[in-house]
Amino acid sequence: MNLQNIPCSRPQTEWGLDPMFWVSAKLFIGDLSRLVSAEPLSTTVFYIGNQHVIKAVELVGIIVSIERRALKMIYYQIDDGTGIISCVHFTTPAEQADPDAVECYSIGDSICVRGRLAVYRNQLEVIIRESEAVDPNYETLAWLERLSLRKFLATSPFDTKQ
């Protein structure tokens, strides 16, 4: 069942009252493709579920593609079984000076990525803030956790009057 993404009717000044606005929302990658953008108010904020607003996500999946662009960026494509999304890691000046020191994952590694959402060339992507390798059982747990949290997004509204 697709998550119904209803645009938030609250003014932009009240978005910060939604706890989802400040956390890395645990979502399936398949749900990210159906997010509703908050344009023109913001290009990095999205509506999800019952009028919730998010700007960062936490994803768990398998790396199916790695692309290094010069020394400045590493693109990972993450697959969690429901969809694929690009996650970009911008290297720091220290990492650019010593490319061997960059913690680079391999294709097939299972990772947990936290970062903010961004749209680049009409494609949604995640700008990695932090990432870590996880074991396969963590991915199964992540699926069940997201399944449970989905019910909250779909049913509990963002209501500032509560």
Binding site: F28, V64, L144
Partner: protein
């Protein structure tokens, strides 16, 4: 590069309805029964079902028989001939083979919880 997500499926589903999965990108899990470097193919077994995996796209990988592996790839008509598909009490899928593009060792994966999680995701119509 337009990659399609690998939908988790079970080997018994592929053995039973192989033709329905042709061309689909899937993720399969099972125990490595055998690997042939000559044909670059592996046989993955889960319960009483088996599937031949075409590993030509994976490069040089050290395979250990008996470990639990996950492969992500596309199910296509058979392209390699694997000699070791006659396994006692095991049915091997004959009309499809998995052209794997990603492989990983998942030793320690709780298969009971994994199966139940996939069934729950299917019930919620997410997979």
């Amino acid at each position: 590069m337009d990659l399609v997500a690998g939908k988790p499926v079970f080997l018994e589903e592929i053995v039973a309805q192989g033709a329905d999965f042709l061309g689909q990108s899937v993720r399969v899990t099972g125990t490595l029964h055998s690997y042939s470097p000559a044909t670059e193919s592996a046989v993955l077994v889960e319960g009483q079902s088996a599937l031949v995996i075409d590993t030509r796209l994976l490069g040089v990988v050290k395979y250990h028989v008996g470990q639990t592996y996950q492969f992500i790839g596309v199910l296509n008509p058979p392209a390699v001939v694997s000699a070791d598909t006659n396994i006692d009490d095991v049915r091997c899928a004959t009309d499809v083979q998995l052209h794997a593009r990603v492989s990983r060792v998942v030793d320690g994966l709780d298969m009971v919880v994994y199966r139940r999680a996939i069934m729950e995701l299917r019930t919620a119509d997410i997979l």
